[in-house]
Symmetry: D2
Subunit: 417 residues, 4 copies
């Protein structure tokens, strides 16, 4: 697997050695910080003030909110806790832009984020600039010892912001997809090319492997502890399931055949009236898909995208196959056996999102980052076209509810025969 | 009663006589049209693009939508039906901006109006300008006979737009009231002064009166047919119920005493957790009210505002009084016996919104304007501070559901003792 | 109009004169009491213990509950308040069997009445017997002065029980109608014959009439005060709308034509999937109706039954007519102009259920009997096949929500042309 | 572990060898069948007809329905498919009493099972007798070859009925717990004694074990395929968590401390107002628990019962421990290391209910038995006081949603420190 280096990743690899001097570390922090913060603004740039306000469903958030919330994260956990005498930019922003950190105080109701016409997008820009200036100033003046101690926190803040960068894409795409006159985020955008679309299988023989994040480079707490796991024998599909295969499933009555589905899945299909993946629209007897480039024809050779776990599971059953576990995926990906493991679609596994053996959430508010979601969700592995460069990792555990499909989500199959 | 003349009213009084020539009528139509259309834009002017997008509850609509929908009304019913070869400004706007006219074709779901980040506020401005130019051109070229025949339709369109002007105020106020940092629509705005706040009663002896709209001047179809009604004996309060009286009701436990309430009313109070009128906030032990001027102290002598029918009814019972019927209100108002009948708060009556004897909705799509709402709602009489000048009328029947309180709604009492 | 005398009606006419001695009054009370109480048991007799438990929707109540609640009414308001030292039969029954009297203390949630498998039907029988014995003993020992004072309360108790007798029929019919194998309450039961089914109109000229209950004979408080009203000119249908007419409405696409309906009505039709009156089932292309006699063919000449207000209103619009007001109905019925005013179906009027001028609920818990329902409901006049003999009255105001149709409800038309 | 032998288990162990003659096998089948069928009736015996009708929530089913559905299972899959010319007892019972087998045809809506006042409990008894007679007749006449082939199906039918026997207890207890006057199923019933309540830990070192059902004795398909798994190192609590420990959690504010809970769990706690395990009631400042013996005091030394997964997980976090995986439980139980593994409370594991590697549902309608539930639920291991004797198995996988707590569910802890 080849992954482009990113600012955050660069910072991670640059975790200071004893010999690095303070100025160097400060500069690295400033560079990494600016690179990530700039990417957020780059993603927001094509959006009008109205586009930045919309919250098209409770699961999504406005782009303006993403921009402000990621800023609050640095203000709350870095400036607020580590800069003596720091006064928040606005006394009510902590209330408005805290997401779900109970330990960090009361907060605005999630489903009402789209109601905040004010502060305006411009005011949020001012908020970002203020906090950026304060953070840079802090980096440049704090001294090596303090900075070294805070590198992990800065890394969390940057990776956190990268996660919201991905959500900015998925959330605005969902919003645009609700519009009867579908807008294009970027008319020139095209779905990324995949590296293979034929049926090929890679084999994992039974073996004990260490899975999870083993060293001290950046990771989220849910990737720990690294632990030994028995994996295999199993075969994994080298390639992702394609639109052509999905159309065959549809043509074969897949969405209407109850016995192909988990019971909760078929209830969802029935209640929601699903007949195709998310963001697909039938016009004039032809299926199209709503993308960041607007409404586009379905490319049969491209990986299927915007399918829920329920759909992925039904497809696998229809195909006489299964979904892999997250451990199987990790072992195969680590061995470099998988095409398109990263950068196109997150891949559903059949592993529920649950704690690794002996997992403990970290202390304090950041302990709420991952651990409290470990029920009712499924793990997805890899990364997607919306994932910022360098944010991918072989041990990375993404997670969504089984009915969710507004993310860039697809699948690859497993075979135990 | 003294009511300022408005453009629409002027047009109404100016209904052309046989001697008026075509140019004069065309000019009157242009003037009336421009006056009303300008007022809409004047009301939208203080709103940012985000403010114009928000739909803070399904009952409310975005300001941008109000601006577009009123434009569609002229495009659909005037240009579309009476200008040969007229091409709509945009092929999808009829779908987006039809409100509830089943006869005029399919339409966007009401509760999703806040999802239309695009067309932008500027695009809606362009839409308004285009239609305005076409309408004015049509007025100036259609000829007297055709214009005379269309005066009633133009009047409906202008009065329709005036109704939406009122909603622009009530809807943005509701939206701003949801914001933890309450914005002011106009910081200089103050609640209008009332003409009296002491308890005084005016007496109506039994008598037969003609109620409803009797002549051909502008009116909505629900004001017809004028008919004879037996009214009285009853006494009506000369003045509106005040905040001071309402605070006494609250202090006496009014909101917590089930026996003061209609059963459906108390269920609403309990489910919603109501403890005061709408848009009231308790901060530091003191009640304030969210207004177009921002969050302001309660003025004890001002009429109470933002109360639902349920609350008005409970207050009347607590006071040992009743609410009047709409007929009693009309007879008393016609006789000039009531203070503040117009221009401050709509006044709940205990009359359900139902058809007058022999009422028939007019033919065609505009027949859906009023008639299909004649169940489950209560009649309010008078007008409010948000009603455009000249839009008030002694026979005017406003109507809302009994739990609604985001309009500028208050009450005056009746006494049958 | 000819109405059979009933026990309660007999009591009402027997309101004691000064010359009646105590024994005679006591005997009259005992006779009236026993007659009504026996009718309740007669109606329950065909029901199994399971039949008596079922609550097939929140609006309905189990037969066992009706039997216990009417007993509690006498225990609470007669024995509990007027017999010194009376100990309730069971300490928890007041909680279980109070319906909605806030003033009488806390009570079991309405929608959970069907959850009380115990006390059993037999235990409720024992409860009824106990209270009956105590009431009779009280009548026989209380003395004339006390009895005279309590006659109104006893009358309310008996009329209250008669209302529940009607509900026992409508509620069990609803329950049986949910059963895929529809049971018959009484296989020999047949729909009552109507007195006419051709289109005939009776005319009311304009006139002032006294409506409402004028004297002191038994009545509910919502029939007061009698007051003068201007009624007419209008024509009322002499006969009820028939199944044949309703089938014509259905055949003409009535249920699918939005413009025939009130907006709330069409929303209900769409959400509920209504295509015919309540309790109708299509089997093998033929419509049948679920009745107390089981599933039976539709009789074209019989009055239509189980229609909601929404349906009645749509039918009237389709027919180019209206529904009458309750005042029009009362004046015509009082003049003996209407066929089948009583005993077949309650007749929807377009009058909302609201207080007569100057209406005041009576003091105490019984003040909750009628007044607190005076919003969101419509008045029905006459009586139905389920109404106990003698319970009908020309001033009687029944009321239900506009979507309700599990009662025996039909309509007659009005014409203002 | 010592488990009493049951009829079904006896049948299982008696799976016929080639030397058994037909009469012997037939007799074994008859004996096993009668033993299980009789147990169902024994459990229903204390229930009145009303008790047998109630469905106190959609997740529960009426006792009468359990009795009929288990009968339908034999009628549908044994008599209907293997007895030539068999005519169903009643043509509509398949519709009424099919639970969720899409492949077996349409069926009555689950949440309306409590609406079937008829057929009566007695009619269901007649249904059971009819099917029993037919089944026994079939066993006695089918011949050895056919019987041998059908042993697996009979075993499924008997184990299926045993599962419903357990539900009969949990469902009627839930129903009785809703009654303000709580009935006792059996006044003499007492909570079973546990074998230990002190904190003791048993250690599992890392090792590869075969988990799942390895041989051909009776099992459900979800226990297959047996497969190798890496388990340990981990310590498991030898004993179940007790009421005393749970009271300490409550006293420490456990139910009000958001940071102890999964996010979905705390949302449930808040929405439902949970402050204690299910079926607990606080009266006079003291907690009691609703049991099959009626409302009883909490026994501090008894295992806690009626806790959801959310509560079990929060308790474990509060205790600084975890819940075990189902594999850890199975390995420890197989080694005989656990007290009270069976017969008191099912024990939540942190394993989601998902397919074992290569799992395939069996063909046909019975393939819907287990597989389609493999999402959103958690595995419980062991068995409970309501589990029929002999129905327990070390590989048995029970499963419920994380908010469910009307089953007899408790927990034991795991420690990875």
């Amino acid at each position: 697997m080849t992954k482009p280096a990113s600012a955050a990743a660069a910072l991670a690899t640059a975790t200071p050695s004893p010999s690095s001097d303070s100025a160097l570390l400060a500069q690295r922090l400033v560079d990494a910080y600016r690179a990530v913060r700039d990417e957020t603004e780059r993603r927001a740039a094509p959006l009008s003030p109205e586009d930045q306000l919309i919250q098209s469903m409770p699961d999504a958030s406005p782009a303006k909110w993403h921009r402000a919330h990621t800023t609050w994260f640095f203000e709350q956990f870095l400036l607020g806790e580590h800069v003596a005498g720091y006064t928040p930019f606005h006394p009510d922003y902590a209330y408005l832009f805290n997401s779900y950190y109970v330990s960090a105080g009361p907060r605005h109701a999630r489903h009402q984020r789209g109601h905040l016409t004010r502060p305006s997008a411009d005011e949020v820009t001012a908020y970002r600039r203020h906090v950026d200036a304060e953070v840079v100033k802090f980096f440049q003046s704090a001294g090596e010892e303090k900075l070294q101690a805070l590198v992990p926190l800065v890394e969390v803040g940057l990776n956190h912001e990268q996660q919201h960068q991905e959500l900015m894409y998925t959330d605005i795409l969902h919003a645009f997809a609700q519009n009867p006159i579908p807008p294009a985020y970027d008319p020139a955008w095209r779905f990324p090319a995949s590296n293979g679309s034929t049926e090929q299988w890679v084999t994992l023989n039974e073996g004990i492997h260490t899975v999870g994040h083993a060293d001290d480079s950046f990771h989220f707490d849910n990737e720990k502890p690294a632990h030994r796991a028995l994996v295999g024998p199993v075969k994994l599909a080298k390639n992702l399931v394609t639109n052509a295969e999905w159309l065959a499933f549809m043509k074969d009555g897949g969405y209407a055949t109850a016995t192909l589905w988990l019971m909760d899945g078929f209830a969802t299909v029935s209640n929601e009236g699903w007949q195709a993946p998310g963001h697909w629209r039938e016009t004039g007897g032809e299926w199209k898909i709503m993308t960041l480039g607007g409404l586009q024809p379905i490319d049969p050779s491209a990986p299927v995208c915007h399918v829920s776990y329920y759909e992925a599971d039904a497809f696998a059953r229809w195909a006489g196959k299964h979904l892999p576990t997250e451990m199987e995926w990790e072992v195969a990906a680590r061995a470099g056996l998988l095409n398109d493991a990263y950068g196109i679609v997150w891949q559903w596994t059949r592993s529920s999102y649950s704690p690794y053996p002996g997992y403990r959430a970290i202390e304090g508010a950041l302990g709420e980052y991952n651990g409290k979601f470990m029920v009712n969700q499924l793990v997805l592995r890899g990364s997607s076209l919306a994932t910022p460069p360098g944010h991918s990792r072989v041990t990375y555990r993404n997670f969504f509810y089984p009915h969710h499909r507004w993310q860039f989500t697809g699948l690859r199959l497993a075979d135990y025969a």
